[in-house]
């Protein structure tokens, strides 16, 4: 998994590539947790993401809850068809802002 963070004032983009699974999800979770203070808009850029399991979905749901608590906005962009399918079957399409 690769993680690349781009901060622009109160907007943060996190590019995630490779595999977001049980082994790698904790690393993304701690990156997200340590970077959300003062962030009004969080974007996950998944154009290079190849795979996501329930461990990755947990990180997204936790981030979405935190952003909601802060009154901010979270966006998911660039997800592949396969990953969009996973959002669909788990109901995540309805709780994430997928662009």
């Amino acid at each position: 998994m690769t993680i690349n963070k781009i901060q622009n004032a109160d907007k943060l983009t996190i590019e995630v590539g490779g595999r977001l699974d049980t082994v790698t999800a904790p690393e993304l979770e701690s990156e997200v947790k340590s970077s959300l203070d003062g962030v009004a808009e969080l974007t996950f850029d998944f154009k290079d993401l190849e795979y996501i399991s329930s461990a990755g979905l947990r990180v997204l749901l936790t981030a979405q809850k935190k952003i909601n608590d802060n009154g901010g906005k979270m966006i998911v962009t660039g997800a592949s068809e396969d990953i969009l399918d996973i959002f669909e079957i788990t109901g995540f399409s309805a709780i994430l802002n997928v662009e």
Binding site: D21, V23, L61, N68, I89, T90, G91, L96
Partner: protein
């Protein structure tokens, strides 16, 4: 048909996935089915690693059998009896704030496999996933 005997621990996940993927590739498994199988294998193996022997450690056997245009993947462990198929599905219509973090793994497996069978026999949990390859 090949069998892998491995410690049921999340740090062995990459070895488990590699073992399964190698056989799927040899069988020219379509990419979409391969990804769904990888996901199912991860969710089931991680479940065993987290709960089967808690707080101790134990082993799991994983068998891949590809025949009649389908992959049969069997997991065996000697941990506490646990039927993942008996678990209630999560409510996927709730809002982000109301949804529990977790409980999605088995549900995703159920949604992506063509069949699943569970039995408890000879003090072992035996779970077989079936995925049609074509």
């Amino acid at each position: 048909m090949e069998k892998l005997n491995i410690k049921a621990a999340t740090d062995r996940l990459d070895d488990v996935i590699a073992f399964v993927v190698r056989q799927l590739e040899e069988a020219d498994c379509p990419m979409k089915a391969q990804m769904q199988i990888e996901l199912a294998v991860e969710e089931i193996f991680v479940n065993i690693a987290h709960y089967a022997y808690k707080p101790k450690e134990g082993m799991a056997d994983i068998t891949v059998d590809i025949r009649d245009g389908a992959a049969y993947i069997t997991f065996e462990d000697g941990g506490v009896p646990y039927d993942p198929l008996a678990k209630a599905d999560p409510d996927i219509t709730l809002s982000a704030d109301d949804r529990a973090v977790g409980g999605l793994g088995i549900f995703m497996v159920k949604k992506s496999m063509d069949d699943m069978k569970y039995e408890y026999r000879d003090s072992k949990n035996i779970l077989t996933l079936v995925k049609k390859l074509r």
